[in-house]
Symmetry: C2
Subunit: 336 residues, 2 copies
Amino acid sequence: MSDYIAKQIQLTSRPAGMPSQENFSCVEVELEPPAAGQALVKNLYMSVDPYMRGRMREDGVYAQSYGLNSALWGGAVGEVIESNAEGLEAGDIVLNGAAWQDKFVADASTLDKLEPFDRDQLSLYIGTLGMPGLTAYVGLFKYGEPKEGETVFVSAASGAVGANVCQIAKLKGCRVIGSVGNDAKAQWLLGECGVDAVINYKTCGNLTDALAAAAPDGIDVYFENVGGDHLQAALAVMNPFGRIAACGMIASYNNSKPAPGPNNLMLIVGKKVRINGFIVSDHGDMREQFLVDMIGWIKEGKVKSRETVLDGLDNSVEAFLNLFSGKNFGKMVVKI
Amino acid sequence: MSDYIAKQIQLTSRPAGMPSQENFSCVEVELEPPAAGQALVKNLYMSVDPYMRGRMREDGVYAQSYGLNSALWGGAVGEVIESNAEGLEAGDIVLNGAAWQDKFVADASTLDKLEPFDRDQLSLYIGTLGMPGLTAYVGLFKYGEPKEGETVFVSAASGAVGANVCQIAKLKGCRVIGSVGNDAKAQWLLGECGVDAVINYKTCGNLTDALAAAAPDGIDVYFENVGGDHLQAALAVMNPFGRIAACGMIASYNNSKPAPGPNNLMLIVGKKVRINGFIVSDHGDMREQFLVDMIGWIKEGKVKSRETVLDGLDNSVEAFLNLFSGKNFGKMVVKI
């Protein structure tokens, strides 16, 4: 197979509710050899993330919409195969925005050359050391502002973002409560990550009651990944001057029509709550310190990463779809 | 009538939905003469405010609950009739927390002696120069953080708080859009207060469409007094990095069961919105500067106050009830 024949996943129709394989196709394209300043990259690992669902809508409020019948994109780690650019050579490992493609040609300026701290853990650069990890770090520290001894509630707590939030909140001396959708995830958070209490939202009955029981002193910070009932429970159990870092609301991503919000929003006033929506791409200024801190914590064994790895670009759509049924355990990665 | 016979309004039962006269009674009590450090005060003006509805619930999340069959309380301006306290003498004007009573005896420490800038405008101290004015000032400047040229949307815009928000936002060089429930209020805001556009939410049809039309460049700050559809419209039309100062949500205060929230809360994330709930009593540190600024603006004619005055303590319940049907125009005051 020529080095210049690449496969890419394209969106062929916009999903109305939950996406399915029918919305995507795998297309073979022939690349041009890299022009001056460009490189040919073979992707090794690509990320699938819940936010990508937003890009599949025509009116991309969250982020720029994906076009139909052209390559999707997202975070990936690849290896340079052929370079026509200064400062890049074959074998270099590059973080790039060209997920959903096994190979691609791009300007060197769009490739972030990594000095990996461990060549055997490259996928961390799209997980704990990548966008999801930085999201956890920015959301918790900049917007959650947890103080030692406070209680932090994290939804989707074993996910790519949530698991990092839980662990770095513990490092700050907080009591941490997570919510997850199955007991294996709960056990991992309790046993491996030092989380203090975990709620299985599918089996706990009334979520507000379960959270109140798990947080007898209330919660001070809520890291919002889910929305809906989770937000309602968090507001109900929140202490005065609580902070909500609003990272995402996955419960609503596949709604074909909008669902109403929590019925207790007035508590925002009464409890003097602060909510900050944020998107990690606005916070590149925190990345350098984040990498120093996070690599340190990983090396010391203080932050653990769990990944679900599917093999092959052909499985990337399945990997993406699995995010919405909770089949991923930790960071969902596609090995290409 | 003895100076020591006082009338007070008591809550006799907790309203389930919209309160009515039946939930209240007017009771005559005999006061003790002021002990050392106390004064006897005759109230001149008392405030009725939407937040008082929250105090009528048994579980006062917003603020301490009113007890049954004892005097209600709230902001009032009175005159000292008899003093047994150093630093206070008959004729002094005092801001106090003993509304809903025509006379009362209290410790001098609970009385805030005023040096009124105009003896003929004492009621301003429970309006534009009092809690509602400070609420506007804190919410807009500390939490809304409007920049010159930005667009500010204010709900309940002709009310005691909203009318001040509108006018001080104009003083900061903002474009201001208000929403009100009748055309007379709209005309006053447009004609007297310099507001740029006003929406009558009862007649405008779809509120989001009306707001989008009034704010072709989007809104940057939303001063939230209403909740429900207003919050949904504000989120829909908000610009990235918009700020919401959440002062109250009057649309929900009389719900006998909780109503669902807006169906577009995910926009908080996508638009990177910041929401701050706040209660003015946490911000006494801003009062001194507020009074300097606001008295200056009033004297210069830059901030106008409109009041609806009902006469007599016997009409205080009606004054309060009128807040929820929008019968007040500007600040609702009871002259005692």
